[in-house]
């Protein structure tokens, strides 16, 4: 490192139009990147903190399992769902988790198409989070169906009633959308993992490791002919996943918007849900990335600039969500439909006003703090904002679901929804499942896409001497 770039070495969040900031810091070469990332799953024994977190997560996951067992035995009456609020926490939790699961594929697909090279440090991690979030999401409709041994009725399979599913129902579109999304995300993730698993295989010291990582790396040799097809398909998968990401939350929004219920039936729902999903997904990535990078010493790979970029996206999508809120309110008035108008007035000033204002302050006001560079680039501050965003996004789904339902068309059917202890335990328990999977991932798999980070380093383009010049800039957008 020459002294000229020293200031950029320390602070790569500085925005200088004449030169691109460095993506990874600390004067890394290919081997040190391998060491840094592959070193994590190669640790003989892991830190006590990991065990502590894992034990806690597994306990919560166990509580989740016990609650589900009790639910199956006793029936959905143990929830707070009532008449008129027939859709309570389970659908709120479902939409919440699916939303979280949008960031990973967004990072791996859309940012890939936009040539945002900085995504390489965080995509693996975010994709893993995506898959685990989708797993958590799928649990909720799964346990919601009343007779959980008959889920195959949702699929176009011959069944004992000799009937087919109703393809005019948005809930069935959900089965296809979330199913496809889960499948393709998982494959996309695994596809990206293959070369990195081969790296760990080739460094493995014990026979079991060699076998385990060997099986899953499929005999990858890094052949140029293989890379050629691999990259071409990766690009096409990214192009396929981009509309797929949009479609998933659009279809989820159709669950609501195709109904004629005031507050649900509005045309902006599809893009609005997608923006909200990306918003919450990125907030979750930041919330997890900040402690993980500190814990595993990855500050040079997942730099402040990566975090700052994500915070900027959070700010942008937060504005989009705010735009949708205001548009809904404007049209509720402009449309001159009394029921629509009442619903929105009731959201802001009715019995659920508390939830509504939590939503607005967490989703619209708290991300405004990211206008300040200091907050954008200070890890503990951004984690606080991101946690608020996640709280707000859960409440957004709660507000949409419950406030539109609790004021039925007939005032005699008005009601109020209160969760039961089982609602709460299931929601908290789903975090246990999520973190169990996530901690296992952190322990056993490469948390950063090693090959992709290397491909973005200056040396990968044959630039050895001219570190920090336009060389990596060409492949970098900040």
């Amino acid at each position: 490192m020459s002294s000229a770039v020293a200031s950029h070495e320390i602070d790569n969040t500085r925005d200088d139009p004449t030169r691109r900031a460095q993506l990874i810091l600390g004067g890394q070469d290919f081997h040190t990147v391998t060491e840094m990332v592959a070193g994590i799953p190669e640790q003989e024994r892991i830190n006590r903190n990991w065990w502590f977190a894992f034990t806690l997560a597994v306990s919560l996951a166990g509580m989740f399992g016990l609650n589900i067992a009790y639910l199956f035995w006793e029936g959905t009456g143990i929830w707070g769902n009532n008449n008129p609020v027939g859709w309570g926490w389970p659908i709120v939790n479902f939409v919440f988790w699916v939303g979280i699961g949008h960031a990973g594929t967004l990072i791996s697909a859309i940012l890939f198409l936009l040539r945002q090279q900085w995504r390489t440090s965080i995509n693996r991690f975010a994709e893993a989070m995506t898959i685990f979030a989708v797993v958590c999401a799928l649990v909720f409709p799964g346990i919601h169906i009343g007779r959980p041994w008959l889920p195959y009725w949702m699929f176009p399979l011959p069944n004992q009633m000799s009937m087919w599913p109703n393809f005019r129902s948005p809930l069935l579109w959900d089965v296809f959308a979330v199913g496809t999304y889960g499948t393709v995300s998982a494959l996309f993730w695994y596809y990206g993992l293959i070369p990195d698993l081969a790296t760990i295989r080739d460094r493995a010291k014990t026979k079991i490791r060699k076998f385990a990582y060997g099986v899953f790396s499929l005999g990858w040799t890094g052949s140029a002919r293989h890379w050629h097809r691999y990259e071409r398909t990766y690009l096409i998968l990214a192009a396929l996943c981009t509309p797929l990401v949009l479609s998933v939350h659009s279809v989820v929004s159709f669950d609501f918007a195709t109904a004629q219920l005031p507050g649900w039936h509005t045309t902006i729902f599809p893009p609005y849900f997608v923006a909200g999903a990306i918003f919450s997904g990125f907030a979750m990535v930041v919330t997890l990335a900040v402690p993980a990078r500190a814990f595993f010493g990855l500050q040079n790979l997942i730099t402040l600039r990566h975090l700052e970029n994500m915070n900027k996206i959070i700010l942008a999508t937060g504005m989009m969500v705010g735009y949708a809120y205001s548009m809904e309110f404007f049209i509720a008035w402009y449309g001159a439909n009394e029921y629509e108008g009442f619903t929105f007035f009731n959201r802001a000033f009715g019995p659920y006003a508390w939830a509504y204002w939590i939503m607005v302050s967490c989703n619209v006001i708290s991300p405004q703090l990211f206008w300040f560079k200091k907050i954008r680039t200070t890890p503990w501050m951004m984690v606080i904002v991101c946690i608020f965003v996640n709280i707000g996004m859960w409440f957004e789904r709660f507000v949409i679901t419950v406030t539109s339902l609790h004021r039925d068309f007939l005032p005699s059917s008005w009601g109020y929804f209160s969760p039961t202890i089982f609602d709460i335990m299931l929601f908290v328990g789903s975090f246990g499942l999520f973190f169990t999977l996530f901690l296992l991932f952190l322990r056993w798999l490469p948390v950063v896409a090693i090959a992709e980070v290397k491909a973005g380093m200056p040396a990968a383009h044959g630039h050895h001497e001219e570190h920090g010049h336009e060389a990596e800039g060409a492949a970098t957008h900040g």
Partner: protein, 415 residues
């Protein structure tokens, strides 16, 4: 990137202001005078109080306004994302956005009569109608003549100032080469983007949605935006090809830049379809009269083949056509699709505006109400649009020659 950086001479003749700009201005004014003059004469002769003329004019006006706003969004976005690849074509987008002051003038035939209470275009502009119609009465706080005028002045004023500001600073950098200017533009881009989103949305609400004042759709701003971005990308492709054909730009704008513009054009073709489908599907599924009044007349008579053609021309055919890498890297093919999509955008505006004549003004149901005034208005506004672009090209260098990220843009290669 592996290629050695090209170096640029700021006085390179290929980058100097476009000498043909004067001819563009002359031809543009000629077309504009003939087109709008002819259309106005036909409109006066139709004896319908300019109703037909104003609708044809609004189709053409909304069409070019979309392109200019798309250009403005593109410039703002490039600054916001600190993009490097696009520097070579950014000046063209700045010039396209620079037509906004001219479009502000061209909005007068719509804004002035509406302000004065002429309701040949907007039913709500009639104070009597606002008294009789319960829904219009409810909306009077927003849909009234004075507030409409105020909004139009604010929107066009903001767009014109923003476009001029970006262009002025960018051309200043051509002289000074000061990287601080880039920083300044970037700083402005974030708040500008927010105001742009709001003004574009309410502009679409006022100019297009309020044509059927009983109808409402929360997505209308995004819908107009999607078409705007697609047509702006198509315009940039056409413009760059035109200038290269005239011996300008040379190898500064490479096939990789076309490839990226093509990708964006393709993406927004798809995005338009996504937004249009979201709006249609939700209204079709809900099937509530207050929503379906907008679609119902579009599914009768001649509008049936037109609507189907819109899906095919605006989405299905170009989707397959522009999908492959090959189509985006052969600039001749890309030019064909750009022109195709510019036509599709006209169909879209026609589809949005024209059925108002049936819904609000008692026109015969099922008829397209296509008249000679439609092409004439289009040619007329096109003329002034070309003239405005000619003015920009004649005055400014065609590439921001001293932009600190220009070398990056020149070396840029797609994978």
């Amino acid at each position: 990137m592996s290629t050695a950086s090209k170096t640029l001479d700021a006085n390179d003749a290929r980058l100097s202001p476009f000498e043909g700009g004067g001819k563009m201005i002359a031809v543009g004014f000629g077309l504009g005078a003939v087109g709008l003059g002819g259309a106005a004469a036909l409109g006066a002769g139709a004896g319908d109080h300019f109703e037909g003329f104003l609708h044809s004019y609004l189709v053409a006006f909304a069409y070019f306004l979309a392109i200019a706003l798309g250009g403005l969004f593109f410039v703002t976005l490039q600054h916001l994302t600190r993009a490097g690849w696009s520097v070579a074509v950014r000046r063209l987008a700045e010039v396209v956005a620079g037509t906004l002051p001219v479009l502000a003038l061209l909005s007068l035939p719509i804004v002035i009569p509406t302000f004065l209470g002429n309701h040949a275009l907007y039913h709500w502009a009639d104070p009597a109608a606002r008294q009789e119609d319960h829904l219009l009465h409810h909306k009077e706080a927003y849909l009234n003549n004075t507030f409409f005028l105020i909004r139009m002045v604010v929107f066009f004023g903001f767009w014109s100032l923003l476009a001029r500001y970006f262009l002025k600073n960018s051309t200043k950098q051509d002289e000074t080469g000061d990287p601080e200017i880039t920083t300044k533009q970037q700083k402005l881009s974030a708040p500008a983007m927010i105001l742009f989103a709001l003004t574009l949305t309410y502009g679409a609400v006022d100019l297009l949605m309020s044509l059927v004042p009983h109808w409402f759709s929360t997505i209308i701003g995004v819908y107009y935006f999607a078409g705007a971005m697609m047509s702006a990308m198509a315009t940039l492709i056409v413009l760059a090809k035109y200038l290269q054909g005239k011996g300008k730009l040379g190898d500064i704008v490479t096939v990789d830049h076309y490839h990226d513009l093509g990708k964006l054009m393709f993406a927004f073709t798809f995005f338009w379809a996504y937004i249009a489908f979201s709006q249609f599907m939700l209204i079709w599924y809900g099937n509530i009269p207050e929503d379906t009044i907008w679609y119902a007349p579009r599914q009768v008579g001649q509008w049936i083949p037109f609507s189907i053609a819109l899906i095919l021309v605006h989405f299905a055919i170009p989707f397959v056509g522009v999908m492959s890498r090959h189509a985006k890297r052969k600039t001749g093919i890309l030019l064909f699709w750009a022109i195709w999509l510019l036509f599709a955008h006209w169909m879209d505006m026609f589809y949005v505006v024209k059925p108002t004549m049936i819904i609000e003004h008692g026109g015969e149901a099922g008829m397209l109400h296509l008249s000679l005034m439609d092409p004439l208005c289009w040619v007329g506004v096109l003329g002034f649009f070309i003239a405005a672009i000619g003015m920009g090209l004649k005055k400014h260098r065609l590439v921001p020659v001293k932009d600190p990220r220009l070398t990056e843009s020149l070396a840029f290669e797609n994978y």
